[in-house]
Symmetry: C2
Subunit: 116 residues, 2 copies
DNA sequence: GTAACGTACAACTTTATGGTTGTAGATGCG
DNA sequence: CGCATCTACAACCATAAAGTTGTACGTTAC
């Protein structure tokens, strides 16, 4: 059952967000534990604003969420979104498998049971 | 056993390549069957050169390969590369699972067997 | 209250992306 | 051969991405 079909634009954002090593690292850290934007920023050799932007990209892709906690914003990874991304790759692989299955059928013992 | 660890740059290219609807469609088609660049180009409302560029991006990400066949270049999807991408997402999900497992352990019957 | 901290946001620069057109080189066909 | 097809590649344009600095504002701590 399809819970929520992703639009092309959403898929674009998800993969685009994952196409950067810093952002992938942020996803890793925020899956491990909630962490504030400033704590994240300390981990990388770039400005606070740059890290802030990376978090924003991840947030637009819904790969992380931000939750206010005092003066900080705690960032949290969203595993559901990762699973959605996996499904997209699964779907592609299924296409491949269908092709090989078709080929296997052709090469197997019996000729096609019906023909034109 | 790790067959071939991907560099950050390779991972970037893979996800970047997948972050475009046209390119994802090209991957689908080339997983289904080998198809020439010009045949691909007919399928989209853009110039041949544009499609050529998309194929080049996918080729640099090693998501497809090109094989000369007469005057055509047959494009073929590379399912192994998709599986590598899946593994990357799997690894991230594992991090999440480790976190929940830790939490489950804390919340389960017995208190931690050792403490500070 | 004031100072320090954490964040938000705007402006700007540089580089990459996604598209175009145009030209030229191979290959296949009549 | 001569022509159409398929591809490669360069040049160009518009827009987006990734980084910077600077400013402003809410929250916490003293």
């Amino acid at each position: 059952m399809v819970v929520d079909a992703l639009t092309d634009e959403e898929v674009n954002r998800i993969f685009r967000a994952l196409a950067d090593a810093t952002r992938r690292d942020i996803v890793r850290r925020t899956l491990l534990a909630d962490i504030s934007v400033s704590s994240l920023a300390h981990a990388y050799d770039m400005s606070f604003a740059a890290v802030q932007k990376h978090v924003a990209v991840l947030e637009e892709a819904r790969l992380v969420t931000k939750e206010p906690r005092g003066r900080e914003r705690m960032v949290r990874g969203v595993p559901e979104r990762l699973r959605q991304a996996q499904r997209l790759l699964d779907d592609l692989e299924l296409i491949w498998r269908a092709r090989t299955d078709r080929l296997d059928a052709l090469l197997s013992e019996s000729p096609p049971p019906e023909k034109g």
